[in-house]
Amino acid sequence: MKFNWFHLMPYRWLPDNFRERYHGVWVDLPNALYDPERGHTLYNEYLDMLEYADQLGYDAVGVNEHHQNGYGMMPSPNLMAAALARRTSKAMILVLGNSIALYNPPTRVAEEFAMLDVISGGRLIAGFPVGTPMDVNYCYGQNPATLREKYREAHDLIIKAWAEREPFAWNGKYTKLRYVNLWPQPIQKPHPPVWIPGLGSIETWDFCAERGYNYSYLSFTGYKRAKKVVDGYWERMAALGKEANPYSCAFFQQICISDTDAACEREWWPHVDYFFNRCLHLYPGMTAPPGYMTEASIRAGVAAQAGNTSMNLGTNKSWKELVEGGYIIAGSPATIRQQVEELAHSLRCGHLGLGLHMGSAPIELTNRSTYLFATEVMPHLRSLWSEWEDHWWPKALPEARREKPGSHNAAVKAQVERPMEVTA
């Protein structure tokens, strides 16, 4: 099993009266609430957390894309990934991902992902989300009725741009390019592994199966509530005749670790509360623009009568309710170990995305969690699914062939900094 340390990078300084004062955390939240100097600290602190995860042996460090919000401060995850490419050396870099329908032309994503793959020595995992309605429709103005068609076209163009070795013309409906000729090319051939984040639509499962992509179920409502959706995924894979390889599936889970179960609530509750009640304070008028969901998905969602609407994200819940409902896994390393194992077997997922930072958590708490998980939990669960091959993992250059940042300066330092030759 693999463990991917994933950061959402929330803004940690939303005011206490946030829920009462503002209708949502996204799209039209006044940016007067953002203090760039605090932002400077946060970016650097958050990157430190990711670098620490690399040092402790997590399999990947992850970032993602969101716009105009206090929930995740990465309008460009590629900038974060570029910083990580230089400051990490072992972990893979999971960009989950770029909302490819937003880029004009989409070859921009092919270029930047290729750059990241080349800089990092082939450590990139390329995520292609459709993107949330808040991001793609309300912030970036994409038409919800045509978004998925545009997304598919962007995907096809990017994959072709990575594969072709001769310039080609692309006459699409949304993008027309006379010359597509990608420089640079990614190190990984034919291209970096592609992961598709989704929320349980059958169309996305079929797309992943058909293309051989990893399906990443990104839910904030935890593994217990995810069971129904992920079971649906495996049933669909079986129906399509695909092997039930656990590594084809990734799941994101928020986890809080302290030395003891009792300490956990005391230490983490304020930050968990901040996450569920400020970061996930979504205005319902901007979560479901007409056409964003296919009619089949609406019908499934409405008819399932499972309380599984997009609004049911764990707001206004107590610590006990969140823990018992599996929204978060919280407690001592022993508790975490037992529940993560239960999660893995229950969902049959080979890739666990770890939300080890939550809401307003400071670095001392987060890094302690990162440390305890790496030393007390990971070693016990490593061998899970070892009988399966992970086809969705980067084929990076061997470590010996990867560049060490700064090594070129070091190699020539003495020569460069020699005394001036004095001419007579």
């Binding site: 799209v27 429709n137 309300y138 103005g141 038409n143 919800p144 009725a145 045509t146 409906k173 319902p284 008028g285 901007m286 623009p289 007409p290 056409g291 009619e295 609406i298 019908r299 409405v302 008819a303 399932a304 009568q305 499972a306 309380g307 609407t309 609004m311 049911n312």
Partner: protein, 273 residues
């Protein structure tokens, strides 16, 4: 009250299939509905069909009309309007369009000026001024739209709409019939979004000078959805246009003030002869 007949127009392979509601006798009147479709033959529709032969085609996604995928952009939409007119055998009809339908009617009249006899635009979208942004139809909870759509929120039409919005709550206790209503509404909104999202403006203003049809622009004085300031722009830019403002009325003029609205259309149309 006269009830409409419903027929399905099959426009051919790989083209939309269109439900047309039809009622009344007399000169043809082509009615182009707004983003809410035609939920019932109510408001101004029965009043108009007492004087005209009203044809009310439904856009793909509304009622039994299908084939939105064949209308790829707004010009497909306008040409689709002409296809329907032709299939119905209407020559230079009186075209009445409300909101989304008003935009479509104005664009059609600018595109093929000789084919539209008369034009009435009821609070059409299609223009944009930064100082009076058209309300975001797609960025609000449905019940929150009601104060923007009606001046008098206790009028029967506003009350009925409020009842409908209950279906959009996140409670999962809907009956199968309610689920179907909800899905049907989502389908219609999807069509509206395809042409209006995120800003309902696609260059109509610089085409308005082409409109040859005598035009009546009708606006609710208290329209909070599309500001009445746009009425003046339509009057200024369309060569032969008059404006009538209906007092005590919001955006959905036909539902909130059907009598004064229908009377204004009839009086204006009579005066044209």
């Amino acid at each position: 009250m006269n009830t409409p007949r419903s027929q399905i127009l099959n426009l051919g392979a790989n083209r939309p299939s269109v439900e047309v509601l039809e009622a009344g006798e007399g000169a043809p009147l082509l009615f182009l509905h707004g983003a809410g479709g035609i939920a019932a033959w109510e408001g101004a529709l029965p009043l108009l069909s007492a004087n005209y032969h009203v044809y009310a085609p439904l856009l793909p996604g509304f009622g039994q009309s299908t084939g939105l995928q064949y209308l790829e952009d707004q010009f497909d939409l306008f040409l689709h309007g002409f296809d329907v007119m032709e299939a119905l055998g209407l020559e230079r009809p009186f075209v009445v369009g409300e909101s989304l339908g008003g935009w479509m009617a104005a664009e059609m009249a600018a595109l093929r000026p000789k084919e539209i006899g008369r034009l009435a635009l009821a609070a059409p979208v299609g223009l944009w001024r930064d100082e009076a942004p058209v309300v975001d139809l797609f960025g609000k909870m449905v019940h929150e739209l009601i104060p923007y759509l009606f001046h008098n929120q206790s009028c029967p039409a506003a009350q009925r709409m409020m009842m409908l919005t209950m279906l959009f709550s996140d409670k999962d206790d809907r009956t199968q019939e309610q689920v179907e209503i909800l899905i049907a509404m989502s389908r219609g909104f999807r069509t509206a979004a395809k042409f209006l999202f995120p800003i309902p403006e696609h260059g109509l203003e610089h085409r308005l000078w082409r409109i040859a049809a005598p035009t009546l622009v009708v606006w609710g004085e208290q329209d909070r959805f599309v500001s009445p300031i746009y009425a003046e722009i339509f009057r200024e830019k369309i060569p032969n246009a008059e404006v009538v403002k209906i007092p005590g009325t919001g955006h959905l003029i036909g539902l909130e003030s059907p009598e004064p609205y229908a009377e204004a259309l009839l009086r204006w149309e009579r005066d044209q002869h």
